[in-house]
């Protein structure tokens, strides 16, 4: 039912849909934050099709930032661009750059392996490795050459505690990681991602395959991780975004429309379009 309001509100989105690049509306609060990850004029193409349009945003240190937006708007693509997972897809080409701290991510002489070790990633679908729970958790350290059993054990326990999984699995660390329930597997993947103490934790809809109880555990976990880790997460769930994130970016068709503190964005956004999306009048 198009009201006058929503028609005017849709203007910006209509322009995006027509293929125009609209500048991102960024809230002034973000200027006070110290950025750990800086996206600078980033574009990405799958073959001929452009999926990300000139995205510029900086992710604040020690905070949880959520990416929201309708399905297919490029949230996962943007997230996967941060640790260059899209390199694995042959057709992908990019322009622009991102910076992790002072270091370029897409610069010519970047060691991608080294770069990925500085970030952790949790996928939409849990993907534990075919090895024991312990081996799963310390995987990142082991491939990095850590051999000291005491260090590995300590890291394993710390990461599993961090992922709120320790009490459930402490007696069966040598069982296969694949022998756990879906929710446990996802928390195992989170433990794996935080074991190497990454600078940035990337999460792509970490709760979409979980039941409400497991979801709330993962949300608690994210809240606890805040401060120690910088989290960039994709979510479809508005409530979840408002519960766990400090900042939220609203994406539409490959562009970031509005980016600001979650509380502001959800209660009093600068743009009518964002309000419409959040209240479910569109999308």
């Amino acid at each position: 039912m198009p009201t006058i309001e929503s028609r005017t509100a849709g203007d910006r989105l209509t322009r995006i849909a027509r293929g125009e690049v609209v500048s991102t509306t960024i809230h002034p609060e973000l200027a006070h934050e110290e950025a750990v990850l800086d996206v600078q004029g980033f574009n990405l193409w799958y073959g001929e099709t452009q999926a990300i349009f000139d995205v510029s945003m900086s992710i604040p240190q020690g905070k949880v930032t959520a990416l929201i937006g309708p399905s297919g708007c490029g949230k996962s693509t943007l997230l996967r661009s941060v640790n260059r997972m899209n390199d694995l897809i042959e057709t992908v080409s990019i322009s622009g750059d991102m910076k992790l701290g002072p270091d370029s991510i897409y610069g010519k002489s970047v060691d991608v392996i080294e770069l990925r070790r500085r970030m952790g990633m949790v996928f939409q679908k849990s993907n534990p490795f075919p090895m024991s729970i312990r081996e799963n958790v310390v995987y990142a350290l082991k491939i990095n050459g850590e051999r000291n059993r005491a260090v590995l054990d300590e890291v394993c326990e710390k990461a599993l505690r961090g992922a709120a999984l320790w009490d459930e699995v402490k007696d069966r660390l040598d069982e296969s990681g694949l022998s756990m329930s879906g929710g446990q597997q996802q928390r195992l993947c989170i433990a794996r991602a935080i074991a190497a103490e990454p600078e940035v934790l990337l999460m792509d809809e970490p709760c979409s395959a979980l039941d409400p109880i497991a979801t709330s555990r993962v949300e608690e976990l994210i809240l606890r991780l805040r401060g120690d880790y910088t989290v960039l997460m994709v979510t479809h769930n508005m409530q979840q975004a408002s519960r766990v994130s400090d900042f939220t970016a609203f994406m539409y068709l490959g562009q970031v429309v509005e980016y600001g503190p979650t509380a502001r964005l959800f209660t009093n956004p600068l743009l009518k379009e964002t309000e419409d999306y959040i209240t479910g009048r569109f999308g």
């Binding site: 392996i113 490795f129 075919p130 090895m131 694949l178």
Partner: protein, 508 residues
């Protein structure tokens, strides 16, 4: 309720579902089930026949004595009996008494005669191992089973049948009666008998007397006096000998141990060679190579390789491995032995390599499938942890694909263990005195030729001089070959299930 009542009234004759047979249940179940049942029946028939033929071979049969109409005496074991239609001329050429007996049988059995193949043994006296005896030749006494007819299995000349009439020590006659002679025989036989010291004097059916040296006797028993226990004992002892001893008498007697050993070593060697190569090839094809028309071509070629007749691989193995590679090794390391080849001829290593080549496509295809089945999300998870490509392959992809790789190895093993044709060219021989593995340095002798059960079967069935005696051994050997393949496969499957349990589990 109503419809049920109706159904009862009309005696259940009307039911809407009965309109079409195809609409009821799953008619295809019957077709597919029929296919399975046919397959199973064929397998059961095959295994059952083999098992029957193979297991009766070693059962001790009685010794019969037949006095024929013309007065000659035949003594031995009846191997089999059959009906045949005689040529009229052969019947006409018989003696008078035989003609009338034959005519009587012919008219009674509608032109057919019955005959039995009797294993008469005593080759050095009669020049034959077997003799056909027609039923009509039986004299008035028919078939007798003389109490003291003994069967001797010997290291040479085949079996001997006779009645003991004396026992000799150093050429001196000790006793004359059958019972005492047999008693003395049993006292003096056993392990490590000095040659030409003891001998048993036997009276044969043809009326001759023969002294048998005890050192040449493998086994002797009074076939017509055996109780069930003794029979089972002899039966088991023959199996033991068959499985653990070396062959005698051009392979038609004795054991097949060297062939079992050769088969197992060759098959394991082949598996050890083919799995690493196959896995490496599959890894390159699936993980590293850019997928395009070239990789597709390579894949098609590999699949076609699986269809090449195995003898072609044999020819290649002989030409390339034995002559070129082996010849070069000889020219470099074994110059002093030339012109006698060391590696430059058939050998177990070349046989293993040839069969490895033959089974390579199986392993590559199975491994590729297993690799393709590893979820992308697992690889991505590993890459996201900062793993290199090789770390991801070695730690995540390969362990996950291992059960599939094992399946390939099992298929390769089953295929390789049953191949015979290429082996005949690259090292399988009728008789190999030395095993490829022994206690002499360097313990493993890859250049040695070897015996193989499959080739042994071929040799027994088609190359044996004493083919009637070798025929039953074909079945026992086949049984052993099947048993070994079964054993190897079971071991591999067990290994795979252990791995599968380790690397997988329920998902949710």
């Amino acid at each position: 309720m109503v419809s049920r009542k109706n159904g009862q009234k009309s005696n259940g004759s009307y039911s809407p579902q009965a309109a079409s047979l195809l609409a009821r249940g799953e008619p295809m179940v019957w077709l597919t089930g029929f296919g399975l049942v046919m397959g199973l029946l064929m397998v059961i028939a095959l295994v059952g026949y083999l098992f029957y033929e193979g297991s009766v071979t070693f059962w001790p049969s009685p010794v019969v004595q037949i006095v024929t109409l013309d007065g000659s005496v035949v003594m031995g074991e009846i191997t089999r009996s059959e009906d045949f239609e005689p040529q009229p001329e052969t019947v006409a050429a018989l003696g008078e008494e035989e003609i009338s007996a034959a005519q009587a049988e012919l008219s009674r059995r509608e032109g057919k005669l019955r005959r039995s193949l009797v294993r008469t043994g005593n080759f050095e006296l009669t020049g034959e191992h077997f003799r056909w005896v027609e039923d009509f030749r039986f004299g008035s006494q028919g078939i007798q089973k003389p109490k003291w007819a003994l069967i001797f299995e010997r290291t040479a000349w085949g079996r001997f049948y006779g009645v003991p009439v004396g026992f000799l020590i150093d050429g001196e006659i000790q006793t004359t009666g059958p019972e005492e002679s047999w008693k003395l025989f049993n006292e003096h036989s056993g392990q490590d008998i000095p040659p030409s010291r003891y001998a048993i004097r036997l009276h044969t059916a043809s009326g001759e007397t023969k002294d048998l040296d005890l050192a040449e006797i493998v086994r002797a028993y009074p076939a017509n006096q055996l109780g069930l226990g003794r029979k089972i004992g002899i039966y088991l002892d023959r199996w033991r000998e068959f499985l653990t001893a070396e062959p005698r008498e051009a392979n038609s007697e004795g054991g097949v141990f060297p062939a079992i050993f050769g088969t197992v070593v060759m098959t394991l060697g082949m598996t050890l060679l083919v799995v690493p190569f196959g896995v490496m090839s599959a890894l390159y094809l699936r993980e590293y190579a850019r997928q395009g028309w070239l990789t597709s071509m390579v894949r098609i070629s590999i699949n076609n390789l699986a269809g090449v007749p195995s003898i072609v691989f044999g020819v290649f193995g002989l030409g390339f491995f034995s002559y070129i590679v082996g010849g070069s090794i000889d020219a470099i390391f074994f110059v002093d032995k030339l012109p006698n080849p060391t590696f430059g001829t058939g050998g177990i290593i070349w046989a293993s390599l040839t069969l490895a080549l033959l089974t390579l496509p199986v392993v590559i295809v199975a491994t590729e499938e297993a690799l393709a089945a590893v979820p992308t999300s697992m690889r991505e998870g590993s890459f996201a942890c900062g793993a290199t490509k090789w770390q991801t392959i070695a730690r995540v992809v390969l362990p996950r694909a291992l059960p599939g790789v094992m399946t390939g190895a099992i298929l390769a093993m089953a295929r390789g263990a049953g191949e015979v044709a290429p082996l005949m060219l690259v090292g399988a021989v009728k008789l190999a005195p030395d095993l490829p593995l022994d206690q002499h340095f360097p313990f493993f002798h890859p250049e040695r030729s070897f015996m193989h059960l499959g080739f042994h079967i071929y040799d027994l069935g088609f190359q044996s001089q004493n083919s009637e005696a070798a025929k039953p051994m074909v079945f026992t050997t086949t049984m052993v070959l099947m048993g070994i393949i079964l054993l190897l496969n079971t071991a591999a499957i067990w290994l795979r299930s252990r791995m599968a349990r380790r690397y997988s589990g329920s998902k949710f």
